[in-house]
């Protein structure tokens, strides 16, 4: 095995590094591009790579839900709306320089430092979990289905009603007279 600065380079690590780099670049691209369609495209790439990261962690159902819900449905609707609104043409926004920008940078750095201070210590001490037969079913469709329809059946139904209300509300807004 190759060791770099005390860290063992495993195929998993290489895969993770590649995927995470591209995902982070895509996430930057979302805010960096002027063109709305390109931003949306970057978001699609980011969501898809997140799903692949979930696959590498053996969380297949989570990953596939990510692809179905975000990459396959929400982002398609996003693109649809962007095209309908004709935001596609590169309309470059020129922002005037004022005190908000340095203040924003400083606040962002502070915020990032705060989050990193919370997350990094526990990440540094994280170790690869030992293969555990009891954990193998963790995240499988069967396990999630059972939990969803037994322990969490009330929140599950409440969320479905919430979604229904959302749909009814949007129809009401769009079509005043029915």
């Amino acid at each position: 095995m190759i060791n770099v600065a005390g860290i063992e380079i495993t195929p998993e690590l290489v895969a993770f590094g590649g995927l995470a780099t591209v995902a982070a670049l895509a996430a930057i691209g979302v805010v960096a591009f002027n063109n709305a369609v390109r931003s949306a495209l970057c978001l699609v790439v980011n969501f898809f790579l997140l799903a692949v990261l979930y696959f590498t962690l053996n969380a297949e159902l989570l990953g596939i839900s990510q692809v179905i819900v975000y990459t396959g449905a929400i982002m398609v609707l996003f693109l649809f709306v962007i095209m309908l609104l004709n935001l596609g043409a590169p309309q470059i926004l020129h922002e005037k320089w004022d005190f908000k920008r340095p203040a924003g940078i400083v606040l962002a750095l502070v915020f990032a430092g705060l989050i990193a201070g919370q997350i990094l210590p526990s990440l540094m001490s994280a170790s690869r979990p030992v293969s555990n037969p009891a954990l193998d079913a963790y995240g499988s469709p069967q396990a999630i289905g059972r939990t969803l329809f037994s322990t969490y059946v009330f929140p599950f139904e409440a969320v479905s009603i919430l979604l229904l209300i959302g749909i009814v509300g949007s129809i009401l807004l769009a079509k005043r007279r029915i």
């Binding site: 699609v44 692809v67 990459t71």
Partner: protein, 462 residues
């Protein structure tokens, strides 16, 4: 009173490694020694072999499919079709491919270059990736090491997820071309794919309920059980079960819509949108779009075969049961069984080609749908039908386990009738009204049109 926690053996989740143990499994094990070397390969190498075994045949077969489409279509239309290049015109597609390779690759001046170049690749990616969980062979014995590229426990969801990515290629191609007809094609395509995905997901969910597993290999092996749990010598192909017929029909229509093929090819309607999303594409990029379309047609046929047509089995007959019942002829039945097993890829590809031929038949038969007809079919007919089927299956499973088989069927038929009446009273009626309304409009239209009489200009000197 039964509670939901201790219902039924049908709904009970099959979690073990071998969910449907059969007598076959035992017998095939004896031939395993010959194939031992496969088990000793490195998993990564084995995975590579699986991928190559899946992708290479598709790459080889796509040109043949185009040739087959052109020949079959011309036969149906009473023409001859391409028959000059090679025997029966078999090399015509190769010649076309060479032509496309050598043509000038024109990029229009005002395109969004990045998106314009990415779009064909995005169209090709889902076409190949969608088969990642598709088993072209048996899930037991030595062949199971070669068949689905990844036998994950979410196989059918993977198919849905990747097929929903197919829209990006078309939409982005339409957007990037900077052509209003292309943009229209892209918009139509995204609306169409979103609409038909719902019905497709519902029809697949019906089969998930009937099978009790999301794993593709489980769906195939559950179809090798006795028909309706009663007829022991026939396999329980989903297309032979009452719920499976409905779900299969819905899936068949949706898969044609998902691949943008003939009655649903509005995104590339020639007479309205020139060629829709690929108007501005030339040379190899244009060819890539077509390749993706044919590959995804081929693989969707494969998914139909795996989920509804009993997977790799050539006939819905349980040979090993026949061998048990008729020991005198067991040699014959075992021989047929082993042919059925070892030539599995051939039978599976045969079913895929049958699916492709169905596509071509549709293209030769049906005229293109109007946009409102397309939406009405998807939202008002297919989605309610698939949802009804889903509810009825769920009710059937529960009532069968609680009240027994006969009452289960009574409940299922009753539920279907009640839901049908509800449909008729709510959505169905509206559909009829709309159709009547549309008919009146189209009949009146010619009368409204005024014929313009253009006077010939008089000559100045007369």
């Amino acid at each position: 009173m039964a509670t939901l926690t201790n219902i039924p053996h049908q709904i009970e989740l099959r979690t073990s490694e071998e969910p449907f143990p059969t007598a076959k499994t035992q017998r095939v094990k004896s031939t395993r020694t010959m194939w031992n070397w496969l088990e000793h390969l490195h998993p990564a190498l084995l995975a590579l072999i699986r991928v190559l075994l899946f992708v290479l045949p598709i790459l080889v077969i796509v040109p043949l499919l185009i040739w087959w489409e052109r020949r079959l279509l011309s036969w149906m239309q009473d023409r001859i079709g391409p028959n000059r290049v090679g025997p029966f015109g078999l090399l015509q597609t190769i010649a076309d491919g060479v032509k496309l390779f050598l043509k000038e690759d024109i990029t229009p001046a005002k395109v969004d270059r990045l998106v314009y170049f990415i779009a064909p690749a995005l169209a090709l990616f889902p076409a190949f990736a969608i088969g990642g969980t598709l088993p072209w062979g048996p899930s037991f014995g030595p062949l199971h090491l070669l068949t689905p590229i990844a036998d994950v426990n979410i196989g059918i969801l993977y198919v849905l997820a990747i097929s929903s990515l197919g829209v990006y290629g078309v939409v982005l191609a339409g957007y990037a071309s900077d052509n209003k007809y292309s943009l229209m094609g892209g918009l139509r395509s995204s609306a169409q794919l979103i609409s038909y995905e719902l019905a497709m997901g519902m029809s697949l969910a019906c089969m998930v309920l009937a099978t009790g597993s999301l794993r593709m290999t489980d769906m195939v092996s559950s179809q090798e059980q006795p028909l309706w749990g009663a007829v022991s010598f026939i396999q329980n192909w989903n297309l032979l079960t009452p719920f499976g017929v409905i779900a299969g029909l819905v899936f068949l229509i949706c898969m044609v819509a998902e691949t943008n093929r003939a009655p649903f090819d509005l995104p590339e309607a020639e007479n309205e949108l020139i060629a829709g999303y690929h108007t501005e594409y030339s040379s190899m990029k244009f060819a890539v779009f077509f390749m993706g379309e044919y590959a995804s047609m081929f693989i969707f046929s494969g998914i139909f075969a795996a989920v509804f047509l009993g997977g790799y089995n050539i006939l819905p007959i349980r040979w090993h049961y026949l061998a048990e019942v008729m020991p005198a002829m067991s040699g014959l039945w075992d021989f047929i069984d082993s042919i059925n097993y070892w030539l599995a890829p051939i039978w599976f590809i045969g079913k895929m080609i049958a699916g492709i031929s169905f596509y071509i038949w549709l293209r030769a038969t049906l005229p293109r749908l109007r946009y409102d007809q397309l939406m009405a079919l998807g939202w008002k007919s297919l989605l309610p039908l698939a949802t009804t089927n889903f509810i009825v299956i769920a009710l059937w499973l529960v009532t069968t386990s609680v009240f027994g088989v006969a009452l289960g069927w009574v409940w299922a038929i009753g539920a279907f009738v009640v839901l049908g009446i509800i449909y008729r009273l709510t959505i169905g009626m509206k559909g009829v009204e709309d159709r009547l309304h549309n008919r009146v409009v189209t009949l009146e239209e010619p009368e409204r049109r005024q014929v313009e009489v253009v006077e010939p200009p008089k000559a100045a000197t007369s």
